[in-house]
Amino acid sequence: MSSATDDEAELNLTRRATLESNSDALQGDEAPTLPVEPEDKYDTEDEAEDGALLAAAERRKIRAERRKLLLTSPAFVIGSLIVAFWILCAIAPGVFTQWGPNEVVRLADGSTIPRTGPSADAWFGTDAIGNDVFARVIYGARPVLILAPIAAALSVVAGTLLGLIMGYVRGWTDEIMSRIIEAFLSIPVILLALMVLVIFGRSRLVIIVTIAVLFTPVVTRTVRSTVMAEAQLDYVTSAKLRGENNLYVMVREILPNITSVVVVEFTVRVGYAIFTVATLAFLGLTADDATSADWGRDVANNYGLIQADQWWPSVFPALAIASLVIAVNLIADSLDRVSKA
């Protein structure tokens, strides 16, 4: 692996530098003069010839270490593999299945096999019409993976902005906005989404914006508390003491120090957004036409068949939702752990 050789090279570099500095010290002062003059001495802390290089190397080392920590965490690896698989499905579903989502499975003799359980012909079985459940699951990744990340990203951008303002400016701005957020959080998410979608119609844009708006208060609260802790630090005071304005302090000074929180928050929100998109689809609120593959809607359309012992057309899409949500959460967890390490 390339990262291993990278690490080695860095290690060598550091080792060489320390050797050099040691030999410097050995050759340096043959006969110590007494008393020593401290002013020439006290800042020789691990001085090395290729100092700037060393600084960069050290920084790279920290980054490499974080990368290594992530790549050796099973949770992160498994989560990433699952997410990567679903992304591939969303991009090129044809690679994984010979059937289209609305294509009726026909055997070699031309016969159809509707309502048949998992078999070699249809791995996940077929639904009432005779479509391949496996194909529908593969094709179903696309709508979720388009809507959820965009909605999550929007909510994180908005939440970070609001959180920065509330956490830094404080005062009555914070008071008023906090009350609004609390009011927002007391409304059941699905209920509100239902109403909005009924009023504004079910386009992709409306779904994305609705989910983003619903998630923004939660993101705002997380970011706000992080910013509040950050604003207590003296570097913020120091920025004020050189006359920086609020916008500069928030965006240039504080924001870079809360990025890890924002990244983790984004990942967590993606997980929740997948869940919400699927739930809305289950309730029939999708942007696409009624026959397109969609995990949530497929569950809704077929769960009644479970009582007729036909569990496969609903359980497999449900498992698909679960696998994606869990995978995203695994990634979020390991990112969180690494950022705190």
Partner: protein, 696 residues
């Protein structure tokens, strides 16, 4: 060096160690302890053969800079070790048992009956959700007492640590008690099983000097009462000096010198001990006398290969012998030994030459505060944190600001800088012109004139910025220069702070504490300030680094004629740097005088008590004046003179009625006290034993 040589050396080392400082009656006997922390599969040496004994009734102190292995040793004595710690060699004998191979049950018994530990932060040592009484009683329940007995014993235990009203204290929760009171509680719990060994790890580090003195008095009394062996870890050499019979000086996981406290502190025989002692401003040293001694370089990293003398890379006496032969233990007298080839030459590194700095103090007032007050509103109450303060700073002058925590020192600094605005009526003038209340309203020239160096450089420097960016932004913002010119100025600044160019491209976390503080100082000086507020700038640093920072501040002042407001709890440091000293209590300035005037002759009773509380590293035992009780709440200050409730010279019928005016005791020496010079110079009679009382 070949492997054989190394083992030979080690063998020789061990052989010589065993002849040193072994006492048959030792309660704690650490013998050649080698301990490593495993980091990513590689064991990294932390303790490299530590040996010492502590006898019953004896206090043994370990000193050294942070990272030298003091705390690891202390924790190892109790076998409190992280999972990645490996004992690679040696033995720990405590109370007649080998601590290293105890079973869980034995260990539990050992920790409840034979040995106890007191930690640095009593707040973390106590459970915030349980009442004090229950927690103290728990220590007795472990010993097998029933609930009722345990509660009775708990009450007695609190009485024993001189808490005035144990019943009421037992009813409280930890957050309702002050730090000093909590540390008493923790000590009471530690003494529950009448341990033979008491390990104290920085027990007074978080406390004010006045409270520290009281806790130390208590430990001293208890030591005689219980005859326990005490192992004391402290970075404050004064504490060690005033408490311990014998001391061990640790460096890089090895004891380099050991002996009776007086011998080690008065005639050190190891270059490291000498360096540490000379780095501290002691015996009334002033910046006008000489620079402080600094130890070049850094402590080696844990796990570094140190085949011969551990101190060789930083030692001014090091020569070829030191690099090739491990120094043996050299006996100076019966109790005093050192690991140095050149102990006869240690004396020669005593002091740097006299300073050439002149520290001219101008006659013009740069900054003046008149009638400045600051009232905070807390839960509907007015809390006056600053009450009508008048102060002036001359050009090139350092004004030292001292007082217990909560006395308003930081509020004064922040109000002056415009971080929060003063109450109506107070005026701050810069070069004779009044400035606006808050920094954001102030004009550019006033902003660049006043800057600050913070206590904690980790908090003061933006961790995601490089040093270059931090300095450049400040230069651009404060001086208005841009581009190449700004880059040039940044390089100049770095040079003036003795930062090497490579440090400019690093981020704060890649720098040591001392270097970080240099960056912070560079930032404060970026716009040629007239006055710099230094809020405890060295209290987070080790003494050798502190010395370098103090030298830097002194030199900068000499060159730039900057004024300093220097806040510190370390009286020795203030004495070294300050031209004048202001003493604060409950938001008021109680005394203001030249440094010399403060340290000789008469002063305000509060100053008197404050000065007497400082544990002296020079071993002089002054008559300590205990401050009764705790600092009153500023929300509800005492009537009359605010200090009368704790004053040992208070005059009944006067002090609690009338607030004294600021009067001039002698030219330039102001004091807020009713007493005359004659009355103040009378020796004071301390009545009886002082008990720790609750604040309300």
């Amino acid at each position: 060096m070949s492997n054989d040589d190394q083992t030979n050396d080690q063998a020789a080392d061990q052989a010589s160690d065993q002849t040193v400082g072994q006492y048959a009656d030792a309660v704690l006997s650490i013998q050649d302890l080698e301990l490593a922390y495993e980091v990513r599969g590689v064991p990294r040496a932390v303790l490299r053969g530590v040996s010492f004994d502590v006898r019953p009734g004896e206090a043994y102190g370990l000193v050294g800079e942070s990272g030298c292995g003091k705390s690891t040793t202390a924790y190892a004595a109790m076998r409190y070790m992280p999972d990645n710690a490996i004992i690679q060699g040696g033995r720990i004998l405590a109370a007649g048992q080998d601590v290293t191979d105890m079973t869980r049950a034995e260990l539990r018994r050992f920790r409840s009956h034979d040995a106890s530990m007191v930690y640095q932060d009593p707040v973390q040592a106590l459970n915030p959700a349980l009442r004090i009484g229950r927690q103290v009683a728990e220590s007795f329940r472990i010993l097998g007492l029933d609930k009722k007995q345990a509660m009775l014993r708990a009450e007695y235990a609190l009485e024993r640590v001189k808490i005035a009203d144990p019943k009421r204290v037992m009813d409280r929760y930890p957050h309702q008690l002050s730090g000093g009171m909590l540390q008493r509680v923790v000590i009471a719990m530690a003494l529950a099983g009448d341990p033979q060994l008491l390990v104290l790890d920085e027990p007074t580090t978080g406390l004010d000097a006045t409270v520290e003195a009281e806790v130390l008095d208590l430990v001293r009394d208890l030591r005689h009462e219980t005859n326990a062996a005490i192992l004391l870890i402290a970075h404050n050499l004064g504490v060690i000096r005033s408490m311990c019979d014998r001391v061990g000086v640790m460096y890089a996981g090895k004891i380099v010198e050991q002996g009776e406290a007086q011998d080690v502190f008065e005639s050190p025989k190891h270059p490291y001990t000498m360096g540490l002692l000379n780095a501290i401003p002691r015996k009334g040293l002033r910046k006008t006398d000489r620079e402080l001694f600094t130890i070049p370089g850094n402590l080696p990293q844990i796990g570094a290969a140190l085949p011969t003398c551990v101190y060789v890379d930083r030692c001014p006496l090091a020569d070829e012998t030191c690099r090739t032969v491990t120094p043996p233990v050299v006996q100076v007298d019966d109790t005093h030994w050192t690991r140095c080839h050149h102990l006869d030459r240690v004396e020669s590194i005593r002091t740097p030459a006299a300073t050439t700095n002149v520290f001219e103090v101008g006659t013009e007032t740069v900054l003046e505060l008149s009638g400045v007050s600051k009232t905070f509103r807390q839960r509907g109450h007015d809390v006056p944190a600053l009450v009508s303060v008048d102060l002036g700073f001359a050009e090139g002058e350092t004004l030292g600001l001292v007082g217990e925590s909560g006395s308003g020192k930081s509020t004064l600094a922040k109000t002056l800088l415009g971080i929060h605005p003063p109450d109506e009526g107070g005026v701050i003038t810069l070069d004779g012109r009044p400035v606006r209340a808050t920094a954001t309203e102030r004009r550019e020239s006033s902003i660049r004139a006043m800057q600050m160096v913070f206590q904690n450089p980790d908090s003061a420097l933006n961790r995601s910025w490089t040093v270059r960016r931090i300095l450049k932004r400040t230069v651009v913002k404060l001086t208005g220069v841009k581009g190449k010119e700004a880059d040039r100025r940044v390089t100049e600044l770095a040079e003036a702070m003795r930062l090497s160019p490579r440090h400019l491209d690093m981020r704060p976390r890649q720098l040591s504490g001392g270097l970080k503080q240099r960056v912070a100082i560079a930032r404060a000086f970026a716009g040629d300030p007239r006055i710099v507020v230094c809020d405890e700038p060295t209290s987070a640093l080790d003494v050798s680094v502190q010395a370098a920072i103090l030298n830097l501040l002194a030199n900068l002042q000499n060159d730039e004629r900057t004024s300093y407001l220097f806040i510190s709890h370390d009286i020795g440091v203030v004495r070294y740097l300050a031209d004048r000293i202001a003493v604060m209590y409950l938001g008021r300035i109680m005394e203001l005088a030249d440094t010399d005037q403060i340290f000789r002759g008469v002063h305000h009773p509060y100053t008197e008590a404050l000065l007497s509380a400082v544990p002296s590293i020079d071993g002089e035992t002054e008559n300590r004046i205990p401050l009764g009780g705790e600092i009153p709440s500023p929300a509800n200050p005492p009537s009359g003179c605010v200090f009368h409730t704790r004053c040992h010279r208070a005059i009944e019928g006067l002090c609690e009625v009338i607030e004294p005016e600021m009067i001039e005791l002698e030219p330039g020496h102001w004091s807020k006290c009713h007493l005359t010079v004659e009355q103040l110079s009378q020796p004071v009679e301390i009545r009886g034993e002082r008990l720790a009382t609750l604040a309300d």
